[in-house]
């Protein structure tokens, strides 16, 4: 009988140790709803420790697509929103979800594809024309299909190119419904073209001979914005801590830190805060 109980007691003790053994989380923290590109590129890993060291505030990042990030912020599940889809961000602020939108930084989108380049778009600097060629060749194109900032940009480019991708969905146009990295993995797997932000691609390891084929069009501009979730709508928002983080990002120190971030020696994000809200 004793043996049985000691065995059970051991199991229970192990369980209790695990239940109570969790790390004590810092009290002073904010939740930032952000996009996968800022996390997957490694930018946030570089910025956040600098800010935390200075302010003592832990920054917890939930990295999802811009569409989901905005939806989460609209549900008051976060203090700061850091995303890249200006029209959607402005709508979010106009609807009372956020206080003010600030330009933070930009980089650009690129179209990557296999070396074989079945649509022959390598070296093009006109994104619309390149997409038209891809559509004409019915070459596979992997889309995020998830309402992310990149997906919204991609749809506006297809619209400008006059291509109805809805009709081709499931045929040469393939909506993965997943994040940027996963979509690149899928695209690489099926030999499809992919529109991606430059930072995610620069940091991506599974390249399988893929290259940047189209870049340099001003339509491929990718603007990031930062917004404090509206404490008037969401009383749980830590307005002071959140605003302090935003102020730091927009300050010379924060902007310099963004500019200093490199992947393979290459600058990935270009700070462009102007202090005035748009």
């Amino acid at each position: 009988m004793n043996g049985r109980f000691s065995a059970l007691a051991c199991a229970a003790a192990l369980g209790l140790a695990l239940v109570s053994g969790g790390a004590l989380a810092a009290d002073k923290f904010i939740v930032v709803q952000s996009t996968t590109s800022t996390q997957n590129s490694g930018l946030l890993d570089e910025l956040l420790p600098k800010y935390t060291a200075k302010s003592g505030t832990e920054v917890r990042v939930v990295a999802v697509g811009t569409g989901q990030a905005i939806k989460n912020a609209a549900n008051c599940d976060g203090d700061v929103l850091l995303v890249h889809a200006k029209p959607a961000e402005e709508k979010f602020v106009a609807e009372g979800g956020g206080v003010k939108r600030f330009d933070l930084m930009h980089n650009d989108f690129v179209i990557i594809g296999p070396e074989s380049d079945p649509a022959g778009v390598a070296g093009m600097t006109d994104a619309e024309a390149a997409l038209k060629k891809i559509a004409a060749a019915k070459a596979p194109f992997a889309s995020r299909g998830d309402e992310s900032g990149t997906h919204q940009k991609e749809r506006s480019l297809w619209k400008a190119a006059g291509v109805d991708v809805k009709a081709a969905s499931g045929d040469w146009y393939r909506e993965t419904g997943s994040g940027m990295g996963e979509t690149i993995n899928t695209g690489v797997g099926m030999g499809a073209y992919v529109l991606t932000d430059r930072a995610t691609w620069s940091a991506h390891k599974n390249r399988a001979g893929y290259k940047i084929l189209v870049e340099g069009d001003k339509d491929l501009f990718n603007q990031y914005g930062v917004i404090l979730v509206n404490p008037a709508k969401c009383p749980n928002v830590k307005a002071d801590l959140g605003q302090d983080f935003i102020d730091w990002l927009l300050s010379k120190e924060g902007q310099d830190a963004i500019a200093a971030f490199r992947i393979n020696g290459e600058q990935q994000f270009f700070p462009d805060a102007q202090k005035s809200a748009s």
Partner: protein, 235 residues
């Protein structure tokens, strides 16, 4: 295919170097999943036993539903819990979203039906053997449930282990309610998903191997516990 070789090396390297981040992630995974399984066991085992013993109108339908709930899609459980725990949801004031507690709740919801359904079957099976004895002794239903649960305890460990397998392996629910926040809610499965999305396929696979080893260790520990307990019991 070089990814497989590379994955093994990366996994061994991480383990050998006692990588601190990895240790933190492993411990959180164990803490979340073991707690969820314990909680699910506390509810699921008695529930299963009661369903095995009691017959009432609709009990057959309840068993079908319970068995079907073993197939609850994690991502749906995550979504429903997100909607409840969100600040815009009814449980928002609890401030549980993006915490390990939310992840424990999510996994407990997924695991309870598995433990309850397997416990119900196990208890129903041994009840067939015990029924006459119990009838002769004229024990109450409550004592019957307790007796059957106790006598089936080693078989019921299998139900708990099955529940643990589900909990430690799922990603769909915890990534939604946990948010995969570094140093706060990042567990093995969400790390694997993240590294996959970064294209670090070898590292992701290596982490998968570590996760699998962990599951084997836990199962071995349970097996050892069962053997030791059984030996002492019959010695």
């Amino acid at each position: 295919m070089q990814d497989f070789g590379s994955a093994v090396w990366q996994a061994l390297g991480l383990v050998a170097s006692f990588d601190r981040d990895l240790l933190e992630i492993v411990l959180l995974s164990l803490r979340v999943s073991l707690t969820a399984v314990l909680a699910a066991g506390l509810v699921g085992l008695p529930l299963g036993a009661v369903l095995a013993v009691l017959r009432f109108p609709g009990s057959g339908l309840l068993v079908v539903l319970l068995n079907a709930m073993m197939g609850l899609p994690p991502v749906v459980v995550g979504l429903v819990l997100y909607l409840l725990l969100s600040h815009a949801g009814v449980l928002g004031p609890l401030n549980l979203l993006y915490t390990p507690t939310a992840m424990i709740v999510a996994q407990a919801v997924l695991v309870t039906p598995i433990i309850a359904a397997l416990a119900r079957q196990t208890v129903a099976d041994i009840r067939g053997e015990y029924r006459e004895q119990l009838q002769v002794l004229g024990v109450s239903r409550r004592t019957e449930v307790a007796t059957l649960l106790w006598d089936a305890r080693y078989s019921l460990l299998t139900a708990m282990v099955a529940g643990f397998g589900r909990a430690i392996a799922e990603v769909g629910a915890v990534i939604i309610v946990g948010g995969n926040i570094n140093h706060v809610t990042r567990v093995m499965t969400t790390t694997i998903a993240l590294e996959t999305s970064k294209g670090n396929l070898a590292l992701a696979l290596g982490l998968g191997m570590i996760l699998l080893s962990l599951t084997i260790l836990v199962n071995a520990a349970v097996q050892g516990l069962r053997a030791t307990a059984a030996r002492t019991a019959y010695a």
